[in-house]
């Protein structure tokens, strides 16, 4: 008895520690959407290899993950649909037929999707289970990428042809502000603490850093030519920007807003995602048909993973248990 108790306690402590270590080690996958081949690739971030390929009918442009339902939603601009993917079973479910030309997409993690219609200049609020469009809102021209707060209450939209970012209150479905940024804003990222938004302006080659409380631009640092993707580390300290021309990722210090590293990747890089633990980032090289794996401690490219053709959007998401 005197011996058993500490052993049992020790064993359970070890078990808890092990489970914790395992969860930490395999907590996130990287998902890459390839438009030309119509495939969502699942990258195991331990091995940095493609663990699964999920086929989607059509040419999916962008996708979002609902962290609650653990589904991915990919826009199909050609057919006016949103493909639905069960990330645990790694299979597709019947797609949502919403019409128009869906492009950018964000999830509120509570059953609703926000979907931009590129040519109708609208945002639709879509029930992710039924596909019913529960509301529509007109924004600027050519809504590109979207970013929602975790609670889904606020939505940011990069209006590429209007050169502004629309800030939307999703409850009232009203535009709170339209903030003029640089020319051709395409990608945007909300910092994990949701205090600032980084917008990549393709044609002016700048970032617009927007304070999400004042809704004012606090800085517009210059990037390399044609910034097309942006991501922010989980500790809010670094901003990663992919630059199509030059084939690079620049890393900005989020406080000084100065670039402190530049990493050569593949050709025409687009989407970027950073692991929650901050160790690695993944970049979709659209022209090369590959994913660059970046080590964020050394700021070097440590691997290129060949992937299906036309990779554009990259997201990190919790791995299945």
């Amino acid at each position: 008895m005197r011996v058993r108790l500490p052993v049992a306690a020790l064993l359970s402590a070890i078990a808890i520690a092990l489970r914790g270590a395992m969860a930490m080690a395999s907590s996130q996958n990287i998902y890459v959407l390839s438009q030309d081949d119509g495939i969502l690739s699942v990258i195991d971030t331990e091995a940095d290899e493609i663990a699964a390929k999920i086929a989607i009918t059509g040419k999916p442009a962008a996708f979002a993950i609902d962290a609650t339902s653990r589904k991915a939603f990919a826009t199909l601009p050609d057919t006016g649909e949103v493909a639905v993917i069960d990330l645990d079973r790694r299979t597709t479910l019947p797609s949502l037929k919403i019409g128009g030309q869906p492009f950018g997409i964000a999830a509120d993690n509570a059953g609703f999707l926000f979907v931009g219609d590129w040519s109708a200049n609208q945002i639709a609020v879509v029930n992710e289970t039924t596909g019913a469009v529960e509301g529509r809102l007109t924004v600027g021209k050519a809504p590109a990428h979207l970013a929602a707060t975790r609670d889904g209450k606020r939505l940011y939209v990069a209006d590429r042809e209007s050169d502004n970012v629309a800030v939307i209150d999703t409850k009232s479905l009203k535009i709170l502000s339209e903030i003029p940024v640089g020319r051709a804003p395409f990608a945007l990222a909300l910092s994990p603490d949701e205090k600032f938004l980084a917008v990549a302006n393709v044609q002016t080659a700048t970032l617009s850093i927007i304070n999400t409380e004042s809704l004012r631009i606090v800085s517009s640092p210059a990037t390399g030519a044609m910034p097309y993707g942006v991501a922010i580390t989980h500790d809010n300290s670094e901003i990663l920007v992919s630059e199509q021309h030059g084939g690079k990722v620049s890393i900005f210090d989020a406080h000084t807003l100065l670039p402190h590293a530049e990493i050569k990747v593949g050709r025409y890089p687009e989407g970027v995602a950073v692991l929650r633990n901050g160790r690695k980032a993944y970049v979709a090289n659209w022209f090369s048909g590959s994913i660059s794996v970046l080590d964020l401690k050394t700021n070097t490219e440590i691997k290129k993973i060949k992937c299906p053709e036309g990779p554009r959007t990259v997201l990190a998401g919790a791995a299945r248990d």
């Binding site: 199909l76 050609d78 057919t79 590129w118 040519s119 030519a225 199509q244 021309h245 050709r267 025409y268």
Partner: protein, 177 residues
């Protein structure tokens, strides 16, 4: 025989359906062309990096106007077809021997494309240099029902022809033929 014909027809019908599906959707398109030039890379790069030199080697270009300097440089090309291309310089990387630029305007008479950008690189190769000219582009009509002359296939075909003619012109100029 009749059965075989019918299955052939069915196959053709399936093919044409999938072609129609391919023509849809604002999916960026790729063009990737290469040529070998019998000259040292440094000599080829000297011509390629001169953003205004295209008027002296691209056979389609009849007139060129260069404005601005550095990364603010633009060139206005008048083509044989009468169309106009306004290109703006994005980056010149001497180490990688790569020049990047993008199209500022959309002129159907010049090229049936939109959101077009391009990169030309020079690399050492057996026999001299290899020049690679790539482009990322969208079709002219990015709506969901583009006419045949404004779809993905038309955009890629015209851009490929433009780039091929340019590479051949560059080779002819540098090799002195």
């Amino acid at each position: 025989m009749a059965l075989r014909l019918r299955s052939l027809l069915l196959f053709a019908a399936v093919l044409s359906c999938s072609n129609a599906a391919w023509a849809h959707g604002p999916t960026p398109q790729k063009v990737d062309e290469k040529i070998t030039i019998a000259a040292p890379p440094a000599d080829v790069w000297k011509v390629v990096k001169d953003f205004g030199s295209i008027g002296s080697w691209h056979p389609w270009v009849t007139k060129i106007k260069v404005e601005g300097s550095g990364n603010e440089t633009t060139r206005t090309l008048t083509l044989k077809s009468g169309g106009t291309l306004i290109d703006s310089l994005d980056a010149i990387d001497d180490k990688a021997m790569e020049i990047d630029y993008r199209l500022q305007n959309e002129d159907f008479n010049a090229l049936p494309v939109s959101s077009y950008s391009s990169a030309i690189t020079v690399q050492p190769a057996a026999g001299g240099s290899e020049v690679e000219w790539i482009a990322r582009l969208y079709r002219f009509d990015t709506g969901n029902e583009p006419p045949d002359d404004k779809n993905d296939a038309a955009a890629v075909k015209a851009s490929t022809a433009y780039i091929k003619a340019g590479l051949e012109g560059l080779k002819a100029k540098i090799e002195g033929k």
